[in-house]
């Protein structure tokens, strides 16, 4: 009961300076929303990338010439198949195409004739006949095309090549296929004008996942001009890209944290004359030091817990309901075709807990500690000052 009365007094005290305190709650909540948005977005993207890209090839072997990625002889595949533990070795043909009409870059990828030809996230089918293609939703939107229509791409010879669109990937696969144009491998080889007997890279199947690193080392010994990339390294790349400690996201995160530190520091540098006088009067009418500190504790808790909860709910809504619309332009860069974020709410409770510790605890401390000196001082001296 006593605690509830102190809480009541704390809330009354906050309400007396309601405009100032509401401003503090608003700024605090906005900072939490910014921090929370970054944490929720990066964690969700990291989990999705990890889950989806576990379907990537076990090992991709590129050829490096003069420090650059070069075409790899398809003949290498025969020697690679002889390595114990290696299954299928598939030459991959893929590349980029700049579409001057829309100012965007497409990724062109060639597929073989094996099944399956239909996929759950594909309306229509994959290309099986000559001059057919399947496109991502971003490409279909940019070029205003759909199943049954055509897609014209300008080849390196400045000749327009017409493909029949037989499939369009659904929005659910945007994060993987948004800028894709899938063609049959022979069509893509002809479109790019690639020399015979060459591929962009080779995809290796390794039967035992524990042997991938060993197979990669053997590939490197067999062909020193190659660069094997394991699936674990692909996943590691995205783990690093979407970690909150990397790149621009760290800058945003640090900026929000600095803004919060300024807020807490302003609170910690001292209490106002009014607050000091109020503490002096409370001590004079019989409040103990512990009661005064408890009052300040409740004030800090009321502000910080309210702001933290409101900010976190706002961050959730921003990322998972509105597709991180405020953060997307920062991440998008100069990309013309960029997928809309339809993220699954994967949440790391540990990160939320750490954020609470980094924000609520320091703010409460910065509210209580400055009041301690006034609370232990003689009330007459405090009031006179």
């Amino acid at each position: 009961m006593r605690r509830l009365k102190i809480l009541e007094y704390a809330l009354s005290s906050l309400w007396r300076r309601r405009f100032k305190n509401l401003s503090v709650v608003t700024v605090y909540a906005f900072t939490i929303a910014a921090l929370g948005s970054i944490l929720l977005l990066t964690h969700s993207l990291r989990v999705e990338a990890n889950q989806i890209l576990s379907g990537a090839p076990d090992l991709v072997v590129q050829r490096v010439l003069a420090g650059r990625h070069d075409l790899i002889p398809v003949d290498y595949a025969a020697a690679l198949r002889e390595i114990p533990g290696v299954g299928a070795v598939s030459p991959r043909i893929w590349g980029y195409h700049y579409d001057a009409m829309t100012g965007s870059n497409f990724t062109l990828i060639g597929i073989d004739d094996r099944a399956p030809y239909e996929l759950e996230l594909l309306d229509g089918a994959l290309p099986t006949g000559p001059m057919e293609c399947a496109v991502g939703a971003g490409v279909a939107r940019a070029r205003s095309t759909r199943v049954g229509h055509e897609l014209t791409l300008i080849s390196g010879d400045n000749v327009g090549v017409v493909f029949n669109v037989v499939g369009v990937f659904r929005a659910g696969s945007d994060i993987l296929t948004n800028d894709l144009v899938v063609l049959r491998t022979p069509d893509l080889v002809e479109f790019f004008g690639l020399p015979e007997g060459r591929a962009v890279d080779l995809a290796l199947e390794v039967h035992n996942p524990n042997e991938v690193q060993t197979v990669a080392a053997k590939v490197k010994r067999l062909f020193p001009d190659t660069r094997p990339i394991a699936r674990s390294e692909i996943l590691r790349t995205y783990d690093a890209v979407f970690h909150w400690r990397s790149g621009m996201l760290l800058t945003l995160f640090a900026s929000a944290l600095v803004a919060f530190s300024i807020l807490a520091w302003d609170k910690a540098t001292g209490i106002s004359a009014d607050e000091r006088r109020e503490i002096g009067i409370l001590k004079a009418i019989g409040w103990g030091t512990a009661d005064v500190l408890e009052l300040k504790l409740w004030e800090g808790i009321a502000v910080s817990v309210t702001a933290f909860l409101v900010g976190l709910i706002a961050a959730w809504a921003h990322v998972f309901l509105f597709g991180a619309t405020l953060l997307a332009p920062v991440i998008k860069g100069w990309s013309v075709i960029f997928p809309e974020f339809r993220l699954t709410p994967y949440v790391d409770l540990y990160q939320i807990f750490v954020m609470a510790c980094l924000t609520v605890v320091p703010y409460v401390a910065s509210t209580v500690v400055p009041s301690w000196k006034a609370a232990i001082t003689d009330p007459e001296e405090v009031i006179r000052k």
Partner: protein, 117 residues
């Protein structure tokens, strides 16, 4: 406001916020479970069938579109002392682990392992 009403309002609002957050977390877990059962396998099937290695996020440059496949010079290839001028290059960092892995393979270790964090 009646005496002792403010703390009731505050506690009620706080409990409502906690309840809302708990509801969102529970809804998130349900959505994640559903995604793991339905959507993720479908996307993984697309990645598997097409042999995809990267997400289709940053389409402005080769090394941002396929960061896991790009060599470490692409960002700076335009001319000597060229800087990485694409905005997404600030978001897409080169994986230090990938470089260390490649260095180990070049050094000829029998069973190269990626470096730990």
């Amino acid at each position: 406001m009646t005496a002792m009403a403010k703390h009731r309002v505050f506690l009620t609002l706080t409990l409502l916020e906690i309840g809302l957050l708990a509801g969102l977390l529970a809804q998130g877990r349900t959505a994640a479970r559903r995604a793991s059962a339905v959507e993720v396998p479908a996307r993984r099937a697309v990645a598997q069938r097409l042999g995809l290695t990267d997400l289709a996020l940053w389409t402005e440059a080769r090394y941002t579109r396929h960061p896991s496949q790009a060599d470490l010079f692409s960002a700076f290839q335009d001319f000597p002392s060229s800087l990485d001028h694409f905005p997404a290059g600030s978001v897409v960092v080169a994986s230090g682990g990938l470089e260390a892995f490649q260095n180990r393979l070049t050094a000829g270790e029998g069973s190269a392992r990626p470096c730990a964090d």
